[in-house]
Each structure stands twice: as C-alpha cells, then as structure tokens.
Amino acid sequence: MGEIRLMKGNEALGEAAIRAGLQGYFGYPITPQSEVMEYLAQQEPHHNYVFLQAESEVAAVNMMYGAGGAGARVLTTTSSPGFSLMQEGISYIACAEIPCLFCNVVRGGPGLGTIQPSQSDYFQSTKGGGHGDYHTIVLAPNSVQEMVDFVYLGFNLADKYRTPVTILSDGAIGQMMEKVELPDPVEYKPDKPWATTGKTKDRERNILTSLYIQSEDMEKKNQKLQKKYEKIKQNEIRFDEYKTEDAEIIIVSFGLSSRVSRKSVDIGRAQGMKIGLFRPQTVWPFPYEKLREYADKDRVKFFISIEMNAGQMVEDVKLAVCGKKPVHFYGRMGGIVPDSYEVIEQIKKIKE
C-alpha cells in the first residue's frame, strides 16, 4: 500500500506527476489551478525536473510541444480561459503526435467568467477544441484519488498512443482535500525512438511536424490519426457504475457532479425510486455502447444527464441512447454546483 495523505486535488496531481517521472512542467498561474504550480515550484529543488513559469499559456503549450517532442514526460495545468489559449498548440501537438499531459481545472465561463467550479468545457475538451480532425483522450476524475491515478494513466496513454491527453477536472476537485493513496515513484525510462534528440550517424533525421503542404500527404496523416483514434475507442473506454444493476432511472454524470449524483441515488432509493449512476471516466472516448445496453433494457425508463453546464454531455448520452428511451438534462451554470436534493426534485418532476 502506498503512502496515505490528506491532500488537495491540485497538490495531489502535482505530487503524482513527480512520482510518475515528470521531466518538464510549463505553466501559467490561474485560479483555481494555481496550487499545482505552487506545489511543483516548491518541490523542484528536491527532484529532477524542469519547472518553468511561462509568459503566457500560448508560450507554455509550445514549450510542451518542444520538450515533449524531444521525448520528455511533460505536463501543463491551467483553467478554462488558459485552456482556450492552448488549443492552437494542442492541435499542432495532436498532428505531430507528441505525448503530452494537460490538466484543465475548469471554472465557469464563457469569457473570463468566474473562478468557481464548472463543467462547461466538455465540448471543447471532447470534440477537439482546436482546429482540424483530432481528439485528445479525456479523463474525468471525480475524486482527489483519481487526480492521482489519472496522472499515471494519462502519462502512460500519452506515450502508448503518441497523443495529447487531457485531465478534465474542475475547481472543486482541485480545491478540495480527501484521503489519497500515493503510488510508489516510478523510474521513467522513455522508449521514444521518434524523439528529436539529435541525429546520430546510424539513423535518419527525426522530423516532428504538423505541416503537410500536399493534400495527399495531409489526408494520409489524417487517416493515420483516425486509425489511432479507432484503436483508442476500442481499448481505452473507462466508466464506473453505482447501483445500476436494477435501476429504472439512470443518472449519467461525470466529475464533481457525479459525486453529487451519487448522493442523489441514495436519497432516491431511500424514497423507493430505483435510481442508478453511470459515470464515464473517459469522456473521450465516450462509453456509447455500454449506455446503449441500458437503453435496450425494458426496466430502464429514462436517462437524466446531470452536469455543471447548459447541457453538453447530454448530447453524447442522446447519441448512445439513440432515441430508444427519453433522455433528460438538469444542470447549473456559472460556477453553481447542483445539490443532491435538487437532482431528486428534477427526477420526481419527470416521473409525473
């Protein structure tokens, strides 16, 4: 068993990155993410990684591109407005196929918005975000423990598929403290023959680029990426369930709102309603097929997506359910977290 600590989500993410063999961190402060930077800055003298506060998020993402391209295990963290600034770079990184780990500790938008927790960057994170046909793997933690676990997982998936990976967190998961078990540190030995580490006599030049002037080449590149995304869809879908075995009403929820919803399940069940919770841990790739299985079950009456936004993941739930059962939505916006009783009230309204 690893070391047990009481930690904030943001600090736990920083510590996990160090233990997972972090080699480079590039970032720019923004609430509610800044504790990651503070933690990594404070720990830097005791470890062997580069910590750099860039002049902006645009600079930070391009440092990720450079260091990741040279084969380093790299991380940046930011919050919503900063993540928007990074999108151009992420598109380049996706095309150049460079393993990088991003964490967006989401706050309420649009615009500069609020610093309170939100999930309104779901579309941005799962549907691409920048220009071009690409995806990043998107992991959605709902606890401080998953802030740790998904750092290890995220780094490994990034390496395995040569792709950017996003941890889609939120202000509350970042700011709250929970008991967390920290895995033992790993000695990171990268196996990246493609990295731009300097040409040697025994190999050709390694070129990492996102520029393919000839359309035929660009299409080939796209086909390669799409093939990779298919493979990710086949192998990397992750989800978690709570009391779905006999559920007639299925709440679909991710991140912090899934914690709120889990309590709603217990409240509802105490009142005789058979409610269950389905929680995607990867929101891209989204667990369409598993949800479809529930849509096919006679006992399932309807689905309700609970989110801290105006209704984003609900579109994926609808794609999964494919019109077979009603799909409802309830959400709060702008940094307001719905409470568990509110969710139950909504479900009662639908039942009537």
């Binding site: 009481l6 309170q116 709250m176 008991k179 914690r259 709120v260």
Partner: protein
C-alpha cells in the same frame, strides 16, 4: 455513519484549519473524509467556510446542503448556517462576538466564549479556534482529542512546533468549557 459539518467565520479566524484538523484526525482514525473550502472572492476578507464530511463509508458528495454539526464565528455565518442545521443537529457559536445567538429550538446550540478565553486566559487570540475545537470535541466526540493533537503535529510546519503546548492548552480549556449534561 456520515457526519456533515461546516466551519464558518471571518478569513483569518482559523476556520479552514479547524476543518482540516478534524478531517486529518478522522482520517488517522481510519475514517473516510472530505474537506471542501469556500475559495476565491469569499476567501479574501469576507466570510470563509469549509465543509467537512466524516464517514465509515465512501463519501458521495463533498458538498453539503444540510449539516449535523455547524461551528460559526461571526454574525453573517450564523445567519447563513443556522437554517441549514439538521433538526436535532448541533450548532456551536462564538458568544463573545455574536451577541444575539441562534433562535431555533429544534437544534442543540452551544454558545462558546472561545475568543474571550483565548485572549483573556491564553493571551493569544490566534488559538481561538483550538478553544472552540476543544468544546466541539467535548460536545460531538467526532474524533479523539489525541487525534487532533497528532493532526496538528502533522499539518503544522515544523518551525511552528514550539506552539504545540499552547495549542494543547487551548484545546483542554475549550474541552473544559463544556459541562457534560
């Protein structure tokens, strides 16, 4: 058994630390815990609060709407959280700054002179929260006194460890402020 708690007062009164100590102590006693702070604009000069959950089982929502235990240290916090204490729940309020206490009859409320005790008897207002903590432990038995001291040692940077005896005093004094009924 899930216990939902809130600690609220002015920024600087040590309410976030109180919550942290309870969470840490409960964790050391083998419980599941969560601690969720108000952050941002509220933290800067206004009222600060943190919600703490302690349970034998995995904690669902870290954000609570009603509380088994509330400890409040200024008037805005009393106004905000008195209505949110569960029926039969416990409300601890600092009665040397809050003159007009809670009015609800369906909860157990305890006025604790934490600030007066800290300033008059211990000559250090900063340990006000530990006086209140002592009272809270006596009333609720949420964690053991020893666990809180372990938690303090675990969370306080070593350069402040000379303050541990003062904190222990404050804790004991708060504990003794409450006469068992």
């Amino acid at each position: 058994m899930l216990k939902e708690m809130v600690f609220a007062g002015f920024g600087g009164q040590g309410v976030l630390s109180m919550g942290t100590l309870i969470a840490y102590a409960a964790m050391k006693e083998g419980k599941e815990v969560s601690w969720f702070p108000s952050y941002g604009p509220e933290m800067r000069g206004g009222t600060a609060n943190c919600m703490v959950n302690v349970s034998d089982e995995a904690i669902s929502s870290p954000i609570d709407t009603e509380f088994d235990i509330a400890a409040v240290f200024n008037i805005p916090s009393l106004e905000k959280f008195e209505p949110k204490v569960k029926k039969g729940g416990i409300l601890i309020w600092e009665n040397s700054v809050i003159k007009k206490g809670p009015t609800r009859k369906d909860i157990h409320s305890y006025g604790v002179p934490a600030i007066r005790t800290a300033t008059d008897k211990l000559k250090n207002i900063k340990v006000m929260n530990m006086v209140a903590m002592g009272a809270l432990l006596k009333i609720t038995q949420i964690v053991k006194k020893e666990s809180v001291l372990t938690a303090l040692k675990g969370t306080l940077p070593e350069r402040y460890h000379h303050l541990l005896p003062l904190n222990r005093n404050a804790l004991d004094m708060g504990f003794d402020l409450i006469k068992t009924k």
